[in-house]
Amino acid sequence: MRNHYSAWSLLRGALTGHRHWSPAWPEAKPKPAYDVIVVGGGGHGLATAYYLAKNHRITNVAVLERGWIGGGNTGRNTTIVRSNYLYPESSRLYDFSLKLYEGLSAELNFNIMLSQRGLVLLAHSRHDLDAMSRWANAMRMNGIDADLLSREEVASLVPGLDMSPGARVPVLGGFTQRRAGTARHDAVAWGYARAASQLGVDIIQNCEVTGFTQQAGHVVGVETNLGSIRAGRVGIAAAGHSSVLAGLAGFRLPVTSYGLQALVSEPLKPLLDTVVLSPGTGAYLSQSDKGELVIGAMLDLFPSYAQRGSFAITQSILAGVLALFPAYARLKMLRQWAGIVDVVHDSSPIIGRTPVPGLYINCGWGTGGFKGIPVGGWTLAHALATGENHPLAEPFQLERFQTGRLVDEAAASGIAH
C-alpha cells in the first residue's frame, strides 16, 4: 500500500524507525495494449496521465520515458512559475496553470514547495519602463496581478542591486507579479507520477519510443526498445525531442531545438527572497531553499541536442549577474548544465491534434514550460480523452502557423530568443 504523506505519518515514522515507508510508485512493465500512451515522462507527460485518470476516468494509460522521469527539462529548469504574459489567450492559459499550482500540493498529497515569493522584472532604460507599463497594464486588463515599481521599491525588494550613480546597468524601476514564485521541479514530476500511478497509470522508465505503428493512416501503437505496444490514442510530450518523434510519425513541426543553460552557486545564507529577472542582461536568478543562487541564462542560439551549454553564454550571463549584483563577485559556481528546449516562432505552446489521426502533441513551451505543466497536462488529457481541443488550448493549435494567427509572446517569455 502506498503511504499517505502527512505530519501524522512522519510522526508515526519517527516512533517506529521510519520502516513503514513504501516506494512512491511501483515500477511497471509494459502491457500489450493501453487506451492511451503518453510519450515522454517529463512534467507535461506525467500531468497528462494524471488528468486522464482524474478528470476523464481513463486509467488504462502508460507513460513511456526514454530515461528517468523528470530527467529532461522538468529536472533541469530554474523552477519559476508566473503568469505575466501579454495576450488574453496566454493569460488565460498560464493563470489557469498557476491556479492549479496553488492547490497542487494538497491535490497530489506531495509537497511541491510552491513559494509565491514574487517576481521582480527590472527596467534598465526609459524604453524598458514604457514597455513594462504596457506589459503590467495588459496583465491587469486580463485580470492578473501586476504592480509597477519605482526605483526605490525595487531597491527595497531586491537587496544587493547596484543602485549607485555609476552602476554599469542602471535600474530605473520595474514591475512585479506577487503571485509568481518558484516550485520544486523534481517534486512536480514525482508528485504527478505518484498520484497518476495510484489511479492505475503505468509509469515505464527506460522505454524509448522508436516508431509509431500506423494502420490506414491512423496511429494504433508505438514501437519501443521493450517491444510494440498498442494504443487507442497516443500523446507526445517530449519537449526538445518533439521534432524527432514527429519525424518518426511522418510530419514536421515549426520547432527548433536549442540548448538553454542554468547554473547554481555554492549555498549561502538567505539573501534574496524574490525572483529577479533582468531582460536587459538576459540574466534571471532566485535563491533555492538550500541557499544556492539559481541563475538562468539566455538560449545558446544555434540548433543543439547536446544538453550542455556553451561557455560563451555562461560567461556573458555571469557578467550580467555581476553587473547587477557586484557583491556576488567572489561566489563560486557549483554546477552548470543545459536542457534542450523546443522553441517556436511565437514562443507559445502547441497543444492538440497532429496531422496524423490518433496522435496528439504538447510541445513548443520552449524556455518556459515548467509553469505550464498543470495546464499542459490538463489540456492534452482533454484532447486525448475527447478528441476535441480544450477551449484554453484552442488558440494554440498547429494550424496557427498556416493561418498566421500567432500568439507572439516573445517579449513576455522572459528570455531573449
Binding site: S243, L253, P254, V255, S304, A306, S310, A312, Q315, Q402
Partner: protein
C-alpha cells in the same frame, strides 16, 4: 565553446559568430498556398544529427558561409561558401 572555421579567417571562437539557421531553404513562388508558405517560414526538419546551416562571422570579417554540423556532438564536418550547393 565551439571553435568555428570561418571560410575567410579560419578557426575562431563561437562567440564571434551568429547562427543564421537552416541553409538552402527555397522561397516558394508568390502565389504559393498558405501551407507552403508556412512550411517555408516556420516548419523545419530540426534534425538530431547532421544539419546544414548558415553562420556569419559577425565580430570578424562579416562573411556569411555554410556549415555541416552535428547537432548532438557539435562536430563540424564541412565548411562551404554561400553560393555552393550542399556537399553530398
Amino acid at each position: 565553446m565551439m571553435r568555428i572555421p570561418c571560410i575567410v579567417c579560419g578557426l575562431r571562437d563561437e562567440n564571434e559568430f551568429t547562427c543564421g539557421g537552416t541553409s538552402h531553404l527555397v522561397r516558394p513562388a508568390i502565389d504559393a498556398s498558405d501551407r507552403d508558405w508556412a512550411e517555408y517560414l516556420f516548419f523545419r526538419d530540426n534534425p538530431k544529427g547532421l544539419h546544414h546551416e548558415r553562420w556569419r562571422h559577425t565580430q570578424g570579417c562579416g562573411q556569411w558561409f555554410n556549415l555541416v554540423r552535428h547537432t548532438l556532438t557539435h562536430e563540424i564536418l564541412t565548411v562551404y561558401a554561400m553560393t555552393e550547393s550542399p556537399p553530398r
